[in-house]
Every structure is written in C-alpha cells, then in structure tokens.
C-alpha cells in the first residue's frame, strides 16, 4: 500500500461512524483485499481490560480452500473497490453470521500466559513473524492447531504507548510466504488504524454506560410508581377509616340505647340485631384497613435463615389440588440449597403470585415447572409455564403496578413479586417465548457466611 490517496480514502470511510465492528471490518478487509495487502485471512484480537484476556473479536477471509478459490475468482471478475467491499459489511446482519466467527471466538488468551507469542507481541509492542508454528517454541500447540497454518504474522495495535490488541494475518489459502515488506507496510497501516479502534471502543463503552443509565432511569421511574401506589393506598385507607369510625360509633350508640329500652321488645330486638350486624361488619373493615396500612407502610421483611425448598414444597402441596382440577401437571426440580435469609410469608406470596399467573396463562392446562438451584452467590427459583408466553412489546411493562393483561386481577401481582425480591437483595428475571413458555426467575442472595 504505497498509494497515499487510497490510504486517505480508507481513513475517511473508516471515520464515517463510530461503530467498532464496522471499523474492525474495515481494517480486516484491507488486510485481505487483493489490491491492498492481500493476506488470506486476518483476525483482530482485543484486550478485555476487565478480565485481562486477549479475546478474538473478528476474522475476515475464507473458511476453506474451495471457499477461497470461489471468492478469488469472483473478486477478480467483479473487481470491487475497497469502498464497495465495505458497503457489503453494512448489508450484513451481525458479525456472528461472519464465516470465521466461530473460530475467532476460540481465541481466548489470558495475559498471564506470558510465553504465548501473542501476549509477547502485546507486551513488547513488537510485530512477530512465525514461519513454522508447529516447531516454534513461542507458539502453544493449541494455538497453532486452532490457526492451522505454519506461517503467520502478528502485529500489535499500539495507541499512546499502550497495546490494545493484536492483528493476526496469514496466507492459509494462497500459501504465499510473508515477506518483510508485507509486514512492514501492514505494520504501518495497523499503527494508524489502532487509534480508530481505541476511539470506537471508548465510544462503545460510553454507549453501554448510557444504555445502563437509561435502564436505571426506567427502573427509578417504576420504583416511583410503586411509592405513589403506597401513598394512594394510605390515603384511601385514611379516607375510609374516618367515616367507618363514625358509622361504627353511632351504630354502637344505637345498640346501647335500644338495649336499655324495653318498652317495645319486638322493635327493640330488631334494632339491636341490625345495629349489631353493622358493628360486626365495621369491625371487619377496620381490621382489614389496619392490615392494608400495615402492608403499605411497614412491609419491611422479617428475615430468617431458611431452606427455600421447604417453602416451595409447602406451597406446592397447597396448590396440588387446584392444579389437578385445571389439568396442569406440576413438576418440581429442587436441588439442595444453602440456607438463605428470607421472609417466609413474603416468599410464599412471591411463589403464590407467580403460580397464579402461570395457571392463568394455561386455561387449557399444561405443565408447571418449579425449579430451584444455586447459581454462584444466589439461590435461583424458576417458575415456568407452558402457556401463551408474554409478547416482547410488553416485557418492560409487566412489572409496573396496575399493569395487567387479565380481565380480572389488580395488576399488582408482579410488581409485588419484584418489590419483595428487591427487598431481599435479589431480583426477578423474565424469559418468555411466545406461544411456548414463560419463566420467571427469582434470584435471592446467599448470605456471605454461607458462601
């Protein structure tokens, strides 16, 4: 690549947008295009700073000799310019559909493996050429086998004295040997493109953070509706209580007056009976209100160390009959679990709500799976039904208070589930395939002492 104008053109195309995959594709296409560097295959590996692993990101090139030959004959006929080649990328759906993707994903080299050539390439910020990979002590057997060639070159992507990744290129299908000139010009190119990759990576990270922020915002908004729900309930309860106290109070005084008056026994008796009924009903309402107010305001869980499986078993015993009558088969898969800190009543409520939803989604019957297992620092409880599934467009909404797809029901069930899970330091996940199944997965943390 001596043509500076071509180089400039490429830089221009490359900077058209900030997409990391597109930029990687640009570089790899140049490395493999016949009228640029003309390597058979080229791969980009980037350092994952969180895990300190050099990870394969993308590869461009044929997957077999036949593939290579057909591509080359087509290419020489079509004689596509670089720009045209790059527009092919924009037609591609995602990088996972690229032919070399499955191979690329296997490149996974921890930076701690200091003897591995690619790690040295990174650390020493120096290009290496290997001519006989199977004999070369610098190349691990696994890596040589993965690549399947004897000769290849690796060039570090260095930005501001920091190596962010490695470009790997070989001539697997042309069998042309790699010259010093090839390496030199490719290095020059890679050096200039490294900045573009770093920039795109930063941008990608920024976008991810932004996405997270937006999700958090949504979450907060949802929490906001939950609080206002509490306020509404409290207000309602207060509004109802005062009239209740008055009605009940006067009913009592009627009762007292009538009770003491024995002039017309029959009428008095009727009065007493009625007043008594009023009093009893009102007492019932009052205690209901107290419970509601208590739930709204003091729904702080009371935690106790408990085996979640016991709770599941207790509930499944309770619902067995109902499920049978609705032609639903219950299947429990309970793995041994560590004790976790739960409010038993609240977790029962969670299970109950999830099971109720599952039942409602299978009016024709079906299967209900309840599965528990440990997953790292969490105990996982999964309730799966074989019902109609949840359409993707309402997945975000189903945890919001008052949201419901049923003709009956308050629309509070799942928001309560979520609320309780969060109060336990856990969370709820939804997996659903339309017309197939729906799983709600509740994660509850294992206390540190049990870890």
């Amino acid at each position: 690549m001596t043509d500076l104008a071509k180089f400039r053109k490429l830089t221009e195309i490359m900077h058209k947008d900030m997409d990391l995959d597109r930029r990687m594709y640009c570089i790899l296409t140049c490395a493999t295009a016949g009228h640029a560097f003309g390597f058979s295959r080229a791969f980009l590996l980037l350092v994952n700073e969180k895990t300190n692993v050099l990870e394969g990101k993308m590869g461009v090139g044929p997957t077999s000799q036949e593939d290579a030959e057909s591509i080359w004959s087509r290419m020489s006929m079509e004689d596509k310019s670089l720009e045209e080649l790059l527009t092919e990328y924009d037609k591609m759906l995602d990088i996972q559909s690229m032919p070399l993707y499955s191979l690329v994903k296997k490149f996974h080299i921890p930076l701690s493996e200091e003897n591995e050539l690619l790690v040295r390439c990174l650390k020493e910020k120096q290009a290496f050429k290997v001519t006989t990979a199977s004999q070369d002590k610098r190349v691990s057997k696994e890596f040589a086998e993965l690549l399947g060639v004897e000769e290849f070159v690796c060039i570090p992507l260095v930005v501001e004295n920091e190596a962010i990744g490695v470009l790997l290129a070989d001539n697997r299908y042309s069998w042309r040997s790699i010259s010093e000139d090839d390496i030199h010009s490719l290095s020059f190119f890679v050096q200039h493109m490294a900045v573009a990759i770093k920039e795109a990576r930063l941008y990608q990270r920024l976008s991810e953070n932004q996405k997270k922020l937006r999700e958090m915002e949504k979450e907060l908004h949802r929490a906001g509706t939950l609080i206002s729900l509490g306020e509404v309930a409290a207000h309602l309860a207060h509004e109802i209580r005062n009239p209740l106290v008055t009605i009940g109070g006067f009913a009592r005084s009627i009762y007292k007056i009538a009770e003491g008056n024995v002039n017309e026994p029959q009428i008095i008796e009727k009065l007493i009976k009625r007043a008594k009924t009023i009093i009893i009903e009102i007492e019932r309402l009052e205690s209901l209100l107290s419970e509601t107010l208590d739930f709204v305001h003091t729904s702080k869980p009371v935690f106790q160390l408990k085996d979640l499986n016991e709770v599941v078993e207790e509930i499944s015993d309770l619902i067995e009959e109902e499920l049978k009558s609705k032609n639903i088969k219950l299947l429990c898969y309970l793995s041994p679990l560590p004790y976790i800190r739960i409010d038993e009543d609240q977790i029962k409520q969670v299970l109950f709500n999830l099971i109720q939803n599952a039942i409602d989604s299978m009016p024709q019957g079906g299967k209900l799976h309840i599965k528990t297992e440990r997953e790292k620092d969490f105990v996982k409880m999964e309730v799966t039904d074989t019902g109609q599934g949840i359409p993707a467009d309402i997945k975000d909404e189903i945890f919001s208070p008052f949201f419901t797809t049923k003709t009956h029901g308050s629309g509070l069930g799942l928001s309560i589930v979520k609320h309780i899970a969060e109060q336990h330091g856990g969370r709820v996940k939804l997996k659903s395939r339309e017309n197939k199944e729906t799983s709600f997965i509740v994660y509850l943390p294992v206390p540190i002492s049990e870890n």
Binding site: N242, G249, E286
Partner: protein, 125 residues
C-alpha cells in the same frame, strides 16, 4: 368536672366524641383545627386533650410541639388512624397513643387512666 378538648377535623367524628364523652360525664369542647385548639388551650381550663394527627394546616404533632412550650402542661392522648405515627418521636411527648376505632372503649379507658394519673387528688367524676 373534667374538661376535655377534642381536636378532630371530621365533623361527624366530633359529633360522635361529643356525645359519647359527655355521656361519660366529661365537659367536652370539640375544635376542628390545631390552631383553634392552641387558642383554647391558652384559655387554660382543660384537663386533657384528645388529638388527631392528620389535619389540614397545622397537624397534631406540630401542635404537640407547641404545647410543650406552654407553661401549663396538659396531658395529650393521640387518637390517629395511622398506627405508624406511634414511632414518630414527637408522639413520645403524648401521654398515650391509640388507633382510631369505632369502639370508643379503649379511648374512654385511656382517658380515665390518664386523668387519674395526672390528677390523683381530685375526685371529680
């Protein structure tokens, strides 16, 4: 005769308390706001205040705070629909806390108890 001041913003509840407490032999004055209550308290002849908390304008707890600054201490019984106010530290300044109920038994008993405790030498009922 003991004089009670009932602070309650609901009119029908005032009627109820008026009737029921007069029947118990107390002199009863009902007011509908904390502000009115403060004026009445400053007139200075009440033995006990029955106080609602949630009221428009100045609420019961604020009134309780103002009463603490008054020279003459009058015992207060909080009568609220909200059990949670019980944990509000201002509520500690009250002599007793009861949750509003159509059964006035608890209120009446508490009134009696507080009066006997505060005015042991008087025997007025």
């Amino acid at each position: 005769m003991y004089e009670l001041l009932v602070v309650e913003n609901e009119e029908s509840l005032r009627k109820l308390y008026q009737e029921e407490l007069e029947e118990e032999g107390y002199g009863v004055v009902c007011v509908s706001s904390a502000k009115e209550a403060l004026d009445k308290i400053r007139e200075g002849h009440f033995h006990l205040v029955v106080l609602d908390i949630k009221m428009p304008g100045m609420d019961g707890l604020e009134l309780l705070g103002k009463m603490l600054g008054e020279e003459r201490k009058i015992p207060v019984i909080i009568n609220s629909a909200y059990p949670r106010y019980k944990s509000d530290f201002m509520s500690w300044a009250a002599e007793a806390f009861i949750v509003k109920s159509s059964n006035l038994g608890e209120l009446k008993d508490t009134i009696k108890k507080v009066l006997t405790k505060y005015y042991p030498d008087e025997n007025k009922v």
